[in-house]
Symmetry: C2
Subunit: 469 residues, 2 copies
């Protein structure tokens, strides 16, 4: 992959030299400038250096902890080095959830340790744990079909496996198993809940992630099993009843502080129109947050740096927002609340939060699918190996979902996510999982697209034409 990407970048250099430099000063919405930016990103690999710095010097950075302060300071410093202006941190409060001990073991006819990790937001077990018989369901639908009271005193275990797919659709399809499963099990009497990790790997590294308790059900402790451990429980359950002991001792700290860090490249002609690009600074605590979301942070900061270095700023203001608490969903609502009145001025928003692999498609708002803008963006992205999707964007990351609800148009840069859920939310989310050349291609696609979005005369709120495809 790397060699091919470098070859692509080299080919693009020709285009840049012949037309790019000349075009820069005067032509706006320039395909040549977009192509030149993409090529620059693919050659300099600055985004990888940023991920490396964040995931090495700061490491994990769970929202509400001291590490999150380090991440905030790192971001402010790097934005300044990138030539970004109006840099500031916007504070908000959150309830920090802090992992404790987490162990599980099969007890009885065989004693075996299981690899588990608490779900974000889970309540604790008693310090000595919960020991109970297992009620194992191979699908979530089987759990939902269980009658009320049928799980009384039991530990419910759902071993349904999420499906691997390039666009990550398998995660969304399985998400309720993690988010809603604990309360669904509790409604049926369960005293604790385990699910097979929402992950596509087969390693003994369970995948954490937030749950959402239902106010109508008791809050029971909940954790994810590593995939091989879910397999083991399925095999053992076939041999008869089985008991588990589960210990989870997470704690919560209310009124902790978080920050959304932001900066701008003021627009040269329409500074009051904003193109907002974001990623999230926080990470789960198990790994070092390299792909989730160090990669996104690297992408948007490197894109902004390249655009800031252009001889002329794009016509619209480009705003970079590094969200401080995406994983437990505090930063998006905080940003939306603080910028509610500004929403009509945000021309477009996009969040990079899907790992470090190449961008293969860009989804734009429905109204501009057939516009000159889309055609030009498609031409700029093609040499780097991406296209404008025929389907419009329907979302672009949890942190901008609130803005979207306020009518802000969004774009979605689709990255290859076939292996994203191998390491997502696990201890294995570390720098070695990132191919610098793929990350550079993704950065190039972002840079080219964002430049055009900020510099072209395009209304992303335009109403979609109903005429044929």
């Amino acid at each position: 992959v790397s060699k091919r990407l470098v070859a692509i970048a080299s080919v693009m250099t020709g285009l840049w030299i012949s037309t790019g430099a000349r075009a820069l000063a005067d032509e706006s919405c320039s395909a040549a400038t977009a192509a030149g930016l993409m090529q620059s990103a693919m050659l300099d690999q600055h985004s990888f250096d940023l991920v490396s710095g964040l995931s090495t010097e700061v490491g994990e950075r769970l929202a509400g902890t001291g590490a999150a302060v380090n991440a905030r300071n790192w971001a402010i410093n790097e934005l300044a080095r990138a030539g970004i202006e109006h840099i500031h941190a916007e504070p908000f409060t959150l309830t920090a959830w802090l992992r404790g001990a987490e162990t599980a073991e099969i007890v009885g006819r065989t004693i075996q340790k299981l690899a588990v990790t608490a779900l974000g937001g889970s309540v604790a077990t008693p310090p000595t744990g919960i020991e109970a018989e297992v009620a194992l369901f191979r699908t979530y639908a089987e759990l939902i079909a269980a009658p009320e009271g049928s799980l009384a005193g039991k530990i419910a275990v759902v071993t349904q496996r999420m499906v691997r797919a390039e666009d990550g659709g398998g995660y969304r399809a399985a998400n309720a198993i993690r988010r809603r499963g604990p309360s669904e099990a509790a409604k049926r009497g369960a005293v604790a809940y385990l699910l097979r990790s929402l992950g596509t790997d087969n390693h003994r590294l369970p995948h954490t992630g937030a749950l959402n308790y239902d106010d109508k059900a008791p809050r029971i402790p909940a954790a994810a099993l590593a995939n091989p451990d879910a397999d083991q429980l399925e095999r053992l359950a076939a041999g008869g009843p089985m008991r588990l002991k589960l210990v989870l001792t997470p704690t919560e700290r209310p009124n902790a502080e978080g920050w959304n860090v932001a900066g701008e490249i003021p627009g040269s002609e329409k500074p009051d129109e904003i193109v907002l690009i974001g990623a999230h600074l926080d990470s789960w605590d198990l790994g070092t947050g390299a792909t989730d979301d160090g990669a996104g942070v690297g992408i948007v900061m490197a894109a902004a740096k390249l655009i800031a270095a252009l001889p002329r700023h794009p016509r619209r203001t480009l705003r970079v927002v590094l969200f401080g608490a995406e994983e437990m969903n505090y930063s998006g609502p905080a940003y939306t609340a603080a910028h509610h009145d500004e929403a009509p001025h945000i021309a477009l928003a996009a969040e990079a939060d899907f790992g470090a692999r190449r961008v293969y498609a860009v989804q734009v708002p429905a109204g501009v699918l057939k516009s000159d803008f889309a055609r030009r963006a498609g031409e700029a992205l093609a040499p780097g190996g991406a296209f404008i999707d025929y389907r419009p964007a329907t979302g672009s990351g949890d942190d901008v979902a609130g803005l979207q609800d306020l009518g802000v148009p969004v774009a979605s840069l689709r990255q290859n996510g076939l292996d994203y859920f191998d390491t997502h939310h696990t201890a294995d989310d570390t720098l070695d999982k990132i191919d610098p050349a793929e990350l550079a291609q993704a950065t190039g696609a972002w840079t080219a697209f964002v430049y055009l979005a900020a510099d072209c005369d395009v209304d992303f709120r335009a109403v979609a034409s109903k005429s044929g495809e």
Copy 2:
């Protein structure tokens, strides 16, 4: 792979039907019988069922623990079901080494947890741990070159990476880093020792394994870092001095009991000549010992079962030995001591202890390289995708090394080990890592070869011919 192997087995069925059944009763050293056995193993996949049973019902089975008793009982039961005779357990004593807590973290300018696991045999740190400055060496040679006293008060860290190779040669080449490194560091003043895991993966699952303390050096605590954590230390070390805190609390239990479980298929003509095949029942405690060495156990037990079911037993006695404490090297010496006087009667010995992938080559003793036996074995193995190597066997597993020292010839069935060290000695050594079709092929190669070794009139002690290749 699976489909191709099944296709091979189907082709072989023809050979078996046309000649195998007829040959069985009278012809000894029959290529057709060997081919038929190989085909049977490839179709029935019994070895996979055995690994599944052992790794699921018993799970991890560290020598000297209650789980090892379960493993012994499981083995006796399964040998009986396989039609093996003279089944018995030969006890020996060992010092059980039991893992305790194991944590490591970077302290100072950044606080980060590291994934570590104690080396087998390591002494403990104080319960509150050891905190000290790091002396990082990117190669073992750099550690060896460090002057005496130069590591006083420090934690020595060696981050050399082992090399991936089909025959596992990279493990042997790096083995001293784990086995000898702790004492070499201690001789230079170090208070603790960490190495990059001897493993070819990039997961946060460190690889354990035994160390060998040198009597001339203080015994210092020693652990392995997961590969991504070794990378992280290398990057951080480039930024200046760094301190680590290490907690390891393993304990030892002397005079624990272990067992080598053995059984036989008495020879039909020369029962006092023994072909010994083995594997080891014990495993490290982190995973469930599926590839190390549940796979070997499945291979040799399934091979013995098929051979026991022949209408006529092979001429020599086939002995199966399931060694009870290979990982800390107690079972081989115990077996050698107990069977010292029998060594001249052991015609050939071979241990299966290199995972669950296909056998691609068989190495025989030097003296029979150009024999009719080797030619016939080569013909039998070829349809299943294996050949007789032009290089003689130089060893065949740690448990038979002592017999080899007493002059017992050995054979080595070479399996593809390209990914063996991805999971070896880690929590990730679980059943899902095994491809049943590849394991069945390996079992087939073992069965065919072992049948010929036991039924052919061949002297494995023959002196090698010096005439040209």
